[in-house]
Symmetry: C2
Subunit: 200 residues, 2 copies
DNA sequence: TTTTGAAGTCAACAATCGTTTACTAGAGGC
DNA sequence: GCCTCTAGTAAACGATTGTTGACTTCAAAA
């Protein structure tokens, strides 16, 4: 099927496509280099469009960053669904160890980046909260359950560990960790998840 | 002992003291806000000295950042010594859970910050490597030991987890994690360390 | 007391940042 | 065909960045 008749014909000037190009380029840059170290001109160059279009489509650099966060959050919710996570520590470990380029780790690293903006912080905190709760639910946690704070804390430790691993894996060329494949990482991470979440 | 006679009398103009003031202020800023988001004028204001003295004492902003890293690394080596870490998972967990303001977590967060400078990256990588090896030694690892890569990998996972926890604890107001005391955190972290390092 | 070198100050530098403005060019409706 | 929005461009804005050089001030040596 080469540009089927029902598919929208490629337009030379496509606002939606340009917006998406900017968003993708921004996510990559913000994830890799952080907010402050990233220039709007870098992003525009990566996307191959004019700098002024960032202000047009996203109002400002902070607006673009917020859009990146919500886009990443939507991706995450779409992939994992609203249902509770898979219940086996193996599956959770596999998610954490997954490909750096476009899995959970990738989104977690972006979530660690800070712009100093309040709205962005709320978005970030919202996802971390809900993700932690769903992780705790695997271990039998439910809202308001007795002694549940302990389970929630343990789930958030798992989350923090996942974030730290993703960050160290992509940013530093550290020893065996940076070159480790998914298969290398699953066994230790399964142990980690089990130790923290199976005591419930 | 109030400024004993042998102690150097307080000098109105003290290069060493000024240098130290700048270094301390820079470590705080770089740790909290990262490299790119921190301004040399911010640092100088915090230290209560003139901006130009940064270029004088540290040659440049990057030079100051390198000095922060080496200072932090020296602190870490001085506190933990050259000897292997305490062998009990309890003690390791306590180190990780320690006070955010000035313990291992504080130094780890600074180590996560990147300036894009090569020299700084080498310093960072050097400490992470040696710290990972000392952590692996607790589980019986030694340089060149058979199958030792697996142990080293597990130790680095512990290190990454510690870094992620420290980062999430100080930067985001996440759930019970951010407000957790050292006593709250030690039990789950002991489980984490045991699960990863006791399988050797 | 005079001299001298270091410690600290001040003001400006060029470069780069995010953002805005005025403008050109293209595509669909009449 | 023309007309009219809208997508995209180019150039500049003021603000802020890291850095530098000439200047002043202090303290110790002579």
């Amino acid at each position: 099927m080469t540009t089927g008749e029902t598919a929208t014909p490629p337009r030379r000037r496509d606002a939606a496509k340009t917006r998406r190009l900017l968003l993708d380029a921004a996510i990559q840059r913000f994830t890799r280099d952080g907010y402050a170290a990233t220039t709007v001109r870098d992003i525009a160059d990566d996307a191959g469009v004019n700098v002024a279009l960032i202000s047009r489509y996203f109002r400002s650099k902070e607006g673009l960053f917020e859009a990146c966060l919500t886009s990443s959050v939507d991706d995450l919710r779409r992939n994992t669904g609203e249902a509770p996570l898979s219940r086996t520590p193996e599956a959770i470990a596999r998610q954490i160890a997954g490909p750096c380029a476009d899995g959970l780790p990738y989104h977690l690293v972006l979530l660690l980046r800070s712009s100093g903006d309040e709205a962005a912080d709320r978005i970030r905190l919202g996802l971390l909260q809900s993700y932690g709760e769903r992780l705790a639910a695997v271990a039998g946690w439910s809202p308001g359950s007795p002694g549940g704070d302990d389970l929630l804390l343990r789930a958030q430790v798992v989350l923090a560990a996942a974030a730290g691993i993703a960050l160290l894996r992509t940013k530093s060329g550290l020893g065996p960790l940076a070159q480790a494949t998914e298969e290398d990482l699953v066994p230790p991470l399964r142990d980690l998840v089990e130790a923290l979440l199976k005591n419930g």
